[in-house]
């Protein structure tokens, strides 16, 4: 005969504790009476009913039944702030460590946020940007050729697509051109602006401005480009050309491109203010092509070849998807590029948002950002922030014993747990906020420091609402991440125990969480250390591996497409300090290379394959010190007579010994030429690519000049004199052109720009990660040493040696670092394997790298910890034991 248990529980749950007893008593009494009068079921029902009737304000549980100022009360906030500042200033070491770590973490986050946000915002601001697509495609030369994705289309395609593909809203073609610009002046000589970047001058369809909505400052957008010999300029470019005169006065002025194409200004538009790959400044009307000599370089009826300068964009109608056009475009490709044509091309659509990231669709103007690198950066930022937060958690929990009394007093004075959590969180938030402020100050100098790593043209607006939202988000996340657990733990203490002075520290959990977090920190640091080692080893390997040719003191000069190159070469040859000169197409290794089809036929078989061509005169092989394995260099001649091939090609043709290939005939463009020599393999592309078959020959295309400077017994100063005399010679041949040259080492190093950047990045990340982890370890070691002062004193009195005490204090930490090594090794191994997979020529993942990283981490930890442990071990026990 008991009342319903559940109703009782419900009452206990909602009813304020000091009323529960009497209410329950009364209800029970009434229940007993009801059972007698009405029977059990009815009584139970009544009991429930009565319990529910007690859900009234007076009986309900309050937040606290004692006086409790609300969280938002300004008195309490002031009190929290005061205690926060006091605690932070009292524990200077840990505050500094935390502040430093958090600042580093937040700064890293902020910098990386700015970079990634900048890259990801490229061309996202155009109205209807989701409907804008670029015409790209897949090209294939010959029936057996490889299919390549290309970011450009044959010149004749855009017009045909406009006419034949139904359902596209707008099609706009344009061509990148590169030319010096002449501005006629009233005085005798026109002003000349040298062509700077390849990405400023374009010849565009008028529809271009329907797709990309520029803001027009002058001129009529509808008619500006409808006629030939018109140009639209960007505002800044207009001022560059014509000085600071009103824009309306610039309209109608003349500009000369390509020395003779005279156009007049028909409009002026504003540059994009937001990040964009479209940095075009001179928009020449498309009709100019057919009406001027531009038609020589841009053949608008060409179907058979394809140039990266030939670009086209389309805008789809509202609601259309690119998939709707796939079949049409496919048919278009089939129809126009018939089987017998050398070039096969299938058009496709590339979303505008993909333009900035997809390296497969290459072009002349967009700078590609590497998405995996961006994601990697984000991960690095997150890890660094995490490590900093872990420092905070570790130090805060380690020191919690010191604040246990404060917690106890606060609880006795009527603070609720929520209040306490709020208090400690506000302390973390304060620290985080200071860190955020410091990093705001640091961001700009850091961005300047790492300019090589940041994307070109990065503009930083620290006080945009986006950045501020991000900072707010980071502040909240960091505060919660680092503050929640410590405050939860601190607020859980039972005041009766803490006030009695019983240690609550290490009770139960034994600091497993702390140890786990240290292991985590060091695992991250170790992965970074191993990454650094491997990346720098690979970079070193690429820098120092024998490339198969000499790169030392070789200067490349590109005179251009006229006939004065040989004259220049002849003059350079006579300079003092020049050892040898070759007319060449390109140096053996670099970004540019050409592949052509060669055929070898013997009695049994017919070998046709793509072979890379190295074009140069008879000085090419000796200048680059290519090693001849058999035969001889080709003889001096004006045209193609003889070939030298590399070992790989000789093997590919089926010759066992290089010498077997000599005097065999190889067919190139319908004529057969004898092989006169075989050179040892050399690298012609970056180490990402395998060495393929190569032939070296003299052809008239060899218009560039390679100069080997004499280095024997020379100093850097002499080199400068030689370069100066090179420039003089250049000026004597080309008085109008700027002298430009590149050192071969530099241009080869450029092949590894991405890797260099990765290297620098990993180095920085490693340094930061190690620094923060070590500071955390240092703080913990300081704290442990302090806590165990008495124990150490007693041990020393009993005869322990300094060494044994240091070992005692250090052992625990080293154990953790060791566990971290065990965890980090497979992770790092996997990650580095992924990275190295991109290279054909690479270093091995040797076990000693891991061992070395481990030793490094252990010694860093040892140095960090031992400073404190030695100090503790050397303390005179009299001092530590005196006060009790």
């Amino acid at each position: 005969m008991k009342p319903p248990r559940r109703a009782d529980r419900l009452l206990e749950w909602f009813c304020t504790p000091h009323l529960v007893e009497e209410i329950q008593g009364d209800l029970y009494e009434r229940f007993t009476r009801d059972v007698h009068r009405l029977g059990l079921p009815k009584a139970r029902q009544r009991y429930w009913f009565n319990v529910l009737r007690f859900i009234r304000p007076f009986a309900l549980k309050r937040q606290s039944d004692y006086y409790s100022p609300g969280l938002s009360s300004s008195n309490m906030l002031r009190n929290y702030l005061k205690t926060s500042i006091r605690t932070l200033t009292r524990h200077k070491v840990s505050t500094l460590i935390n502040l430093f770590g958090l600042t580093l973490g937040i700064t890293a986050c902020l910098v990386i946020y700015l970079i990634t946000n900048y890259e990801l915002s490229y061309d996202t601001f155009h109205p209807d940007s989701e409907r804008i697509y670029r015409l790209v495609g897949e090209s294939q030369y010959g029936k057996t050729g490889e299919k390549h994705p290309v970011g450009f289309v044959p010149n004749a395609v855009p017009k045909a697509i406009r006419e034949e593909i139904t359902g596209l809203e707008t099609v706009a073609a344009f061509h990148n051109i590169s030319s010096d610009v002449l501005i006629p002046t009233e005085k005798e000589k026109p002003k000349r602006f040298e062509s700077s970047r390849h990405s400023e001058l374009v010849v565009v369809d008028p529809q271009f401005f329907d797709i990309f909505r520029y803001q027009w400052l002058a001129g009529n957008p509808k008619t500006a480009l409808s006629e030939p010999f018109k140009v639209v300029l960007s505002e800044q470019k207009a001022h560059t050309y014509f000085g600071n005169i009103p824009l309306n006065h610039i309209l109608g002025k003349e500009i000369i491109y390509e020395d003779s194409v005279r156009v007049s200004v028909a409009g002026i538009v504003k540059e994009w203010a937001q990040p964009s790959d479209f940095g075009f400044t001179d928009f020449i009307s498309f009709a100019t092509i057919r009406a001027s000599k531009l038609r020589q370089s841009i053949n608008l009826d060409q179907w058979t070849d394809i140039w990266s300068a030939s670009q086209a964009f389309v805008k789809l109608p509202q609601g259309a998807t690119p998939e709707q056009f796939t079949a049409q475009l496919h048919r278009f490709g089939k129809m126009h590029f018939t089987k017998d044509m050398e070039l096969q091309f299938t058009p496709a659509l590339q979303p505008l948002s993909d333009l900035h990231f997809n390296v497969n669709y290459d072009d002349n103007y967009s700078r590609k950002a590497h998405l995996p690198t961006l994601y990697g950066l984000m991960a690095i930022a997150a890890f660094i922030l995490l490590i900093a937060a872990i420092n905070f958690i570790n130090l805060a929990t380690a020191q919690s014993a010191m604040r246990a009394k404060e917690t106890g007093i606060r609880k006795v004075m009527g603070s609720s747990r929520a209040n306490l959590i709020f208090q400690f969180l506000s302390e973390t938030a304060l620290l985080t906020l200071i860190a955020v402020l410091i990093s705001l100050v640091l961001v700009n100098p850091i961005l300047r420091l790492f300019q090589t790593l940041t994307p070109e043209g990065l503009t930083v607006n620290l006080f945009s609402w986006q950045t501020l939202t991000f900072l707010l988000f980071v502040t909240i996340i960091t505060s919660l991440l680092s503050g929640f657990y410590p405050s939860w733990m601190l607020s859980s203490y039972v005041p009766a125990l803490t006030l009695k002075g019983q240690s609550v520290l290490n009770g139960g959990e034994k600091g497993y969480l702390r140890k786990g977090l240290i292991v985590f920190q060091f695992t991250v640091s170790l992965v970074f250390i191993i990454g650094t080692l491997m990346v720098s080893r690979q970079l070193n390997f690429m820098r120092h591996k024998d490339l198969g040719f000499s790169t030392n003191a070789i200067v490349s000069i590109r005179p251009g497409r006229d006939d004065k190159g040989p004259v220049l070469a002849q003059k350079i040859k006579q300079l003092a300090g020049v050892e040898r000169v070759t007319m060449e197409w390109f140096p053996p290794m670099g970004q540019a290379f050409m592949v052509t089809k060669l055929t070898y036929r013997d009695k049994k078989k017919n070998v046709e394959m793509d072979v890379s061509a190295k074009i140069g005169d008879e000085n090419f092989i000796p200048l680059y010190q290519l090693r001849l394995l058999a035969g001889r260099n080709f003889l001096k001649s004006d045209s193609l007579r003889e070939l030298v091939i590399n070992e790989t090609y000789a093997k590919a043709l089926g010759f066992k010994k290089p010498a077997d290939a000599l005097n065999k005939l190889i067919k190139f463009q319908d004529n057969a030429f004898p092989v006169v020599g075989v050179v040892a393999d050399f690298h012609e592309q970056s180490f990402h690519e395998k060495i393929g078959p190569v032939f070296i020959a003299n052809m008239p295309q060899a218009r560039n000049i390679g100069v080997k400077l004499a280095t024997q017994g020379k100093q850097v100063g002499d080199l400068k004199t030689t370069l100066a005399s090179l420039e003089q010679t250049w000026k004597s041949v080309y008085p109008d052109k700027k002298f430009e040259y590149t050192f071969l080492d530099d241009s080869i190093a450029q092949l590894y720009e991405k890797e260099q950047k990765t290297g620098q990045l990993v180095n920085t990340a490693t340094a930061i990660a190690i620094l923060i982890s070590c500071m955390g370890l240092f703080g913990l070691a300081t704290f442990t040493a302090q806590q165990r002062t008495k124990e150490i004193g007693v041990r020393k009195v009993l005869g322990a040696s300094v060494a044994s005490i240091v070992a005692l204090l250090t052992k625990d930490f080293l154990k953790l670092v060791f566990i971290a090594l065990v965890l980090a090794s497979p992770l790092a191994w996997w990650a580095m394997n992924q990275w190295l997979r991109d290279f054909v020529y690479k270093v091995d993942l040797d076990w000693w790298v891991f061992a070395f990283a481990g030793v490094l981490a252990i010694s860093i930890a040892l140095v960090t910890v031992s400073f404190q442990s030695i100090k503790a071990a050397l303390t005179n026990p009299v001092k530590s034991l005196r006060s009790e």
Binding site: L19, E22, I23, G25, D26, E29
Partner: protein
Amino acid sequence: MKRTYLGEFEELVLLTVAVLHEGAYGVAITDELERQTGRSVSISAVHAALHRLEEKGMLKSQMGEATAERGGRRKRLFSVTALGSRALHDIRAMRDQLWESISPNVLPTLSI
């Protein structure tokens, strides 16, 4: 003269506490109220009123002894404070005054 306002139900509860004298607690008050007034009264309403009266200082309380019929729980015993008693007296005095001010034969007599 300013007085703390007493609601009708509160007044009844306060009076009942006085009626019950030593044994005034939740259920007893409820029962007595039901018996005297003939209306059904809920325990929670009585509790709420007691709570309010105590806050107003018209009642004081102490915990009594635990009894078996209450499942071993103690009861809270209420008694009227000086303020409570004064409030009751005031109300009564005011009513008496009002009754006396009514002219005879104004109110129709009720035959019971």
